[in-house]
């Protein structure tokens, strides 16, 4: 296991309420996979990504739980120790590559900056490594594009540069938070293929956060589905897609119109996701669930493992 999260809770303490953005998350990420975390906006998936590297903006706080990276508990580390891990062993690929670069500095200089100051390389070594990484992410003519400013590159090329930056310290774990949301479908496919290659060829581990079931289906090995701050189902991608168990997972797959087949009528989910400051009692999904039983309204189901790989948080499987 490269990452093991136990009973993680992240709450936002607002003026007049507490937002439970992440509640009782247990998760294990094995080495050398693309691990997908799927959920809609407000499901807590981005908060989870930020919690792993302890970058929760105030008034948010990790309330309890542990995050083991190999055998280090990241929650207990001092800020100084954490900085040896963050941006070094664990790096991030941003959602919006345009805003993640400084618009007034050439791309190459921004990469150099990281290589020289964070990794302590000499200028010559740094330049060599940067070209190497840019080639790795299939940046067209890296020597030329390095000298350009962010606004002179397209979104797809910037995202490649951002991935190159994430690869500079040769990390073990890369967290990609909706890395293709801002990109077009054809560019998206190229970036996803690149991310897949990081795992297959370079033996990295990637946590891929997305709202798109199609993306996880094609890219990930394992997935966890999040709803209202909790994991409702997790397992291997093939099993999850061929037989989704949790009603929410099923709805996520069934409610999306498909380009590969004709659908007469979509079955939409009723209602809207709950506000995290006003979470329903019992199972958090029960107000929208067609299969809700009386117990679902009263008690919260546990995340129960059906076998060594598959777990689901639903009273139907207890």
């Amino acid at each position: 296991m490269i990452l093991k999260i136990c009973d993680l809770r992240v709450y936002y303490f607002l003026r007049d309420k507490v937002v439970r953005a992440i509640d009782k998350i247990d998760l294990e990420v094995p080495e050398g996979v693309v691990f997908g975390i799927v959920g809609e906006s407000g499901s807590g998936k981005s908060t989870l990504a930020h919690a792993i590297i302890r970058l929760i903006p105030p008034p948010g706080r990790i309330v309890s739980g542990s995050i083991f990276f190999r055998d280090l508990d990241l929650v207990k580390l001092s800020e100084k120790e954490l900085n040896k891990i963050r941006g070094n062993r664990i790096t991030m690929i941003p959602q919006d590559p345009i805003s993640s670069f400084n618009p007034t500095v050439r791309i190459g200089d921004q990469l150099l900056d990281v290589a020289i100051h964070k990794l302590g390389l000499s200028r010559r070594e740094a330049a060599k490594i940067i070209i190497e990484k840019l080639k790795l992410v299939r940046m067209p003519s890296p020597e030329i594009n390095m000298r350009k400013y962010p606004h002179e590159l397209s979104g797809g090329m910037l995202q490649r540069a951002a991935i190159a930056m994430a690869l500079l310290p040769d990390p073990d774990l890369i967290i990609a938070d909706e890395p293709t949301t801002a990109l077009d479908v054809t560019i998206q496919a190229a970036i996803l293929k690149l991310i897949r290659d990081l795992v297959d060829d370079l033996k990295k581990t990637v946590i891929l956060i997305t709202h798109n079931m199609g993306i996880v289906a094609e890219t990930c090995d394992k997935i966890a589905v999040m709803y209202a701050g909790q994991i409702v189902e997790l397992g291997d991608v093939y099993d999850m897609l061929s037989e989704p168990l949790h009603p929410y997972t099923r709805a996520l797959i069934m409610a999306v119109p498909r380009a590969d087949r004709e659908i007469e009528r979509l079955e939409p989910l009723v209602g809207e996701p709950p506000s995290l400051s006003d979470i329903p009692r019992g199972c958090r999904f029960h107000p929208r669930c067609r299969l809700a039983k009386p117990i679902c309204k009263r008690e919260e189901p546990p995340l129960r493992y059906l076998d060594s790989k598959r777990a689901v948080r639903c009273w139907l499987y207890v």
Binding site: E40, S41, S154, G156, M157, D184, V185, T186, I187, Q188, A189, A190, L192, K193, R196, D200, H211, N212, M213, G214, I215, V216, A217, E218, T219, V237, Y238, L241, S242, A251, L252, I253, A255, V256, P257, R258, A259, D260, E262, I263, R265, L266, E267, P268, L269, E272, P273, R288
Partner: protein
């Protein structure tokens, strides 16, 4: 063939951007686009960002004026009409924008938002206005309790329903849907798509459905036109387009869409490299040639015309023209 409600003829739109000192760049956003929306049909306009699909949508209801070409709405040439003359056609047209967070004025209540088109169309009778607003809200499935609410008090799905109610309150016959579900969560998207389908049937609407999402296009459209770098590269019935796409770009696009199907892996996909070109007004050749695996020297020199190569299936590609 059924009657045509809206026809764009060789429409061209150029945006001039300033580059550096005194240098200007004429970018062709929409290039020689010809298309028809027929009564009661949904014509989808598919393409990636910057391909000119939204500009085409705005041109079709004359929110932009084309640099050349004609726009014919219900048999009347509205290309050169002034804002005053256009007003009497405006109530037959509607538009729903992508982002319901920015398309509703944050300082107006739901009632004021939905009533606004009626007031602009000089409807004075207050009880009539109220009746029409309630009717519109009901048709999009919103309760009358939200009349006094402000947009920020509504969820994304509710806001988009308000935006749809606003577009429909004047009983239009032609509605432009500019990525109406792109900023909504997947669980909300399906209900909005179903609503749009139902409204079309109930009120006999014709849609121009603009989207980059081929899944929703396949679900909602009757015919599909594919745009690339300002030009239409393929138009066909939904079935022939999805089952037998002809243009290499359409094929690549279909191949790129991620689909939640077990066993479908990105590893096994052929990925289209490169990116769409910036089209200036002196551009020659097929816009897709640079990325096209089949491109030959002719493709770089001459722009292929849109031609009917099978019945009701139009393609702009030299491979299919004789």
């Amino acid at each position: 063939m059924s009657e045509v409600i809206l026809r764009l003829e060789n429409v061209r739109k150029i945006f001039t951007i300033k580059r550096e000192f005194l240098r200007k760049l004429n970018l062709v956003a929409v290039d020689n686009v010809t298309l028809e929306v027929r009564y009661g049909e949904t014509l989808a306009l598919v393409g990636e960002s910057g391909c000119g699909k939204s500009t085409t949508g705005l041109l079709s209801i004359r929110l932009l004026k084309p640099d050349s070409g004609r726009i014919i709405f219900k048999g009347i040439d509205i290309t050169d009409l002034g804002e005053g003359d256009l007003r009497k056609y405006r109530r037959h047209m509607g538009i729903v924008f992508q982002n319901p967070y920015s398309s509703l004025n944050p300082r107006m209540t739901v009632f004021d938002i939905v009533a606004e088109p009626l007031k602009i169309q000089k409807l004075k009778d207050r009880s009539e206005i109220r009746k029409r607003v309630l009717e519109a809200l009901q048709s999009v499935g919103l309760p009358r309790e939200i009349l006094d609410r402000y947009p920020h008090e509504l969820s994304g799905g509710q806001r988009q329903r308000v935006a749809i109610a606003r577009a429909l309150v004047t009983h239009p016959i032609y509605v432009v849907l500019d990525e109406p579900t792109a900023s909504l969560d997947v669980s909300i998207q399906a209900s909005i798509l179903n609503l749009l389908k139902d409204l079309k049937k109930t009120y006999g609407l014709s849609y121009l459905y603009i989207s980059h999402d081929l899944g929703t296009v396949r679900y909602i459209a009757d015919r599909v036109s594919v745009m690339y770098a300002g030009r239409i590269v393929e138009i066909a019935d939904k079935h022939s387009l999805f089952n037998r796409p002809l243009h290499p770009y359409t094929k690549a696009l279909l191949n790129s869409v991620p689909i939640a199907e077990p066993g479908r892996r990105i590893k096994n996909k052929h990925i289209l490299e490169g990116e769409p070109p910036l089209v200036t007004d002196d551009y020659v050749g097929c816009r897709f040639a640079e990325r096209c695996p089949y491109a030959d020297s002719r493709c770089f020199k001459e722009t292929p015309p849109l031609e009917e190569v099978q019945k009701n299936h139009y393609v702009a590609c030299w491979r299919y023209t004789t």
